[in-house]
Amino acid sequence: MKKKVLGIVLKLMLVLLGTFIATFTIYFFNLENKLIYYVVRPFLNKHYDSQRRDRRIV
């Protein structure tokens, strides 16, 4: 039983550590902003530019 709990705790800690390493890497190397700047926004801007808006004064 004790072993099982320890195993769960260990797994949980490993998951947490993995999550931490992953998120901290994203955070520290600014990966989310790089992705948004170089990939997401150019894609979205292309879409926005091709949109047909009901552009008029009234």
């Binding site: 520290f28 600014n30 902003n33 948004i36 997401v40 808006r53 552009r55």
Partner: protein, 533 residues
């Protein structure tokens, strides 16, 4: 005494610390960036403790954004696909990083507390608006929302507890222009393509472009517009009311608001506006509901006044943009409607008190000048106060817009309360000291003196006719009173007219030629961020 483990880590990581690099001649803040883009290669190492605090704040904001999407996944995705301005909100993380460059210790902690208050509020608002936007399919609250002009303080609307006042321009224009300098020029071009002159105020031009481009969410049954803060915002309302096509009521508060004769009129206008909403929405005004929210606003203002006392000293842990942006959002957009902000204020003031007692010096005591920031800021350069602190050691003690309505609202007598609200509302964003007569503008010197400032930075919106009209008088006053005084030219929301780099150069020239000082971080002196958000 410093923990040996963190000391070891900090030693190993110091090449990622821009402050250490600037102090040791090995680069600085700008060394982290890809040229022009405003995208950092890596985030700033602020020391182990502060880096982890910054990381946790990043996670916290990420959580708010996740909650936003989770609370209304389809409307948010539809909104992202429908509205150009929604795409710009993706720049929020980069925006926060920019704002708090060089922040350490308590000033970083407070800055993130304030910023998270904004993020959690704004994400909720985005989800709420998009899930009730009739363009995207509408929602159960669509007709309980009251679209109103962003510059009209919504506190008086709290007397309608069943209605939800939504500052209409806040999402597509008012907030997002802070985050992405590239967005509003698109809308300005749309407005100008219909013949609008290029020399009108770019904020209102952008709003007009949003109108013409049909980019406002469609909500509510009736519209409250306003004459605030000034001429162009009055004029753009003419287009907005037609395009939105709802019954509208212009809440035209007194322009010359510093005279006793103005307040009875503004009071009556508020009464008329309440009557209009009662008629259009079939609701009855509930004074007790108003009083409950007014108490929150009063407490926030009381805390604000205490903050001001600390600002007057060199020991304030709340500095620069962390103060300015928070006050702007919490006053103009929240205006007493959300308890979170009162709670946040209570926590912040506690930290500020502690720092003051310890005689804490923010920014490692490197502040050389204390400046009062006057005039509407260039919103495409929201991190200007951060830059001027990091580059030249100039601390922005208080911004003009932070002095907005800070009178207390009576919470017992409706007659007195509405009068207080009129006075409170007249002194709204870009209005308290920019509009309403020379005395309001000229008050800057007293403010600067009271806050122990040796410098006044005059944000000089090139399209603001009112502030252009006092140009030389202000310069002469500065000379006579012995302040360092810089006119920082900008074009409010159009970074193409006067770029961030141009703005920096104005300051650089003054600081090096007139004041004769050297920059704290030479990498910040001249750089290109023209392709940044």
């Amino acid at each position: 005494m410093k923990n040996p483990i963190t000391a070891f880590i900090d030693k190993k990581m110091q090449r990622f610390d821009p402050i250490w690099r600037a102090e040791n001649g090995k680069g600085g803040q700008r060394s982290r960036y890809y040229d022009k883009t405003g995208i950092a290669k890596y985030r700033e190492w602020r020391g182990t403790k502060d880096t982890f605090y910054d990381y946790l704040a990043w996670l916290n904001n990420l959580k708010s954004m996740g909650l936003m999407v989770a609370s209304a996944p389809l409307p948010v995705l539809k909104g992202m696909w429908e509205y150009r301005w929604m795409g710009s909100y993706l720049g929020t993380f980069a925006f926060i990083d920019r704002l708090f460059e060089g922040f350490r210790g308590p000033e970083l902690r407070i800055a993130h507390m304030n910023m998270h208050a904004i993020v959690q509020s704004l994400t909720k608002k985005i989800a709420l608006v998009l899930s009730n936007d009739k363009r995207l399919g509408g929602g159960p609250l669509s007709d309980r929302m009251v679209p109103m002009d962003e510059v009209l303080p919504p506190l008086f609307m709290c007397g309608f507890p069943n209605l939800i006042p939504i500052p209409l321009q806040t999402l597509p224009e008012f907030i997002i222009c802070d985050i992405d300098q590239q967005l509003e020029p698109f809308y300005i071009d749309v407005a100008e393509s219909f013949g609008l002159a290029a020399d009108v105020c770019s904020r209102c031009s952008a709003e007009t472009g949003v109108t013409f481009n049909d980019d406002f969410p469609i909500i509510g049954k009736a519209l409250l517009s306003t004459n605030m803060p000034c001429n162009a915002s009055e004029a753009t309302s003419m287009f907005q009311r037609r395009r939105i096509g709802l019954p509208d009521f212009p809440v035209t508060l007194a322009m010359i608001h510093n005279e006793p004769g103005a307040h009875p009129y503004s009071t009556q206008i508020l009464r008329d506006a309440i009557k209009f909403i009662e008629d259009e929405y079939g609701e009855v005004y509930d004074w007790d509901a108003l009083f409950a929210r007014a108490r929150q606003m009063n407490e926030q203002n009381e805390i604000e006044l205490e903050k001001w006392d600390i600002f007057k000293t060199p020991h304030s842990a709340l500095c620069g943009i962390a103060e300015t942006l928070y006050r702007l959002y919490s006053w103009a957009s929240v205006n007493g409607q959300e308890d979170y902000f009162t709670k946040n204020d209570r926590k912040v003031i506690k930290i500020m008190r502690r720092c003051y007692e310890k005689r804490y010096m923010p920014f490692g005591g490197k502040t050389r000048h204390r400046a009062f920031l006057w005039g509407p800021s260039a919103v495409y350069y929201t991190d200007f106060p951060t830059w001027i602190q990091n580059c030249w050691g100039v601390s922005i003690v208080l911004n003009m817009d932070s002095t907005m309505g800070h009178n207390m609202i009576n919470t017992e007598d409706p007659e007195e309360a509405i009068k207080d609200l009129a006075l409170f509302s007249e002194k709204a964003v870009m209005r308290h000291h920019a509009v309403g007569g020379w005395d309001n503008v000229n008050a800057v010197w007293d403010w600067a003196k009271n806050f122990d400032c040796d410098m006044v930075l005059m944000n000089d919106n090139v399209a603001c006719k009112g502030m252009n009209g006092v140009h030389a008088m202000m310069e002469e006053q500065a000379r006579d009173l012995g302040f360092y005084f810089i006119f920082v030219e900008h074009d409010l929301e159009d970074c193409r007219t006067v770029s961030r780099r141009d703005m920096r150069n104005i300051v650089n020239n003054y600081m090096s030629v007139v004041v004769g000082e050297e920059p704290l971080d030479p990498t910040l002196l001249d750089f290109d961020d023209s392709e940044a958000w």
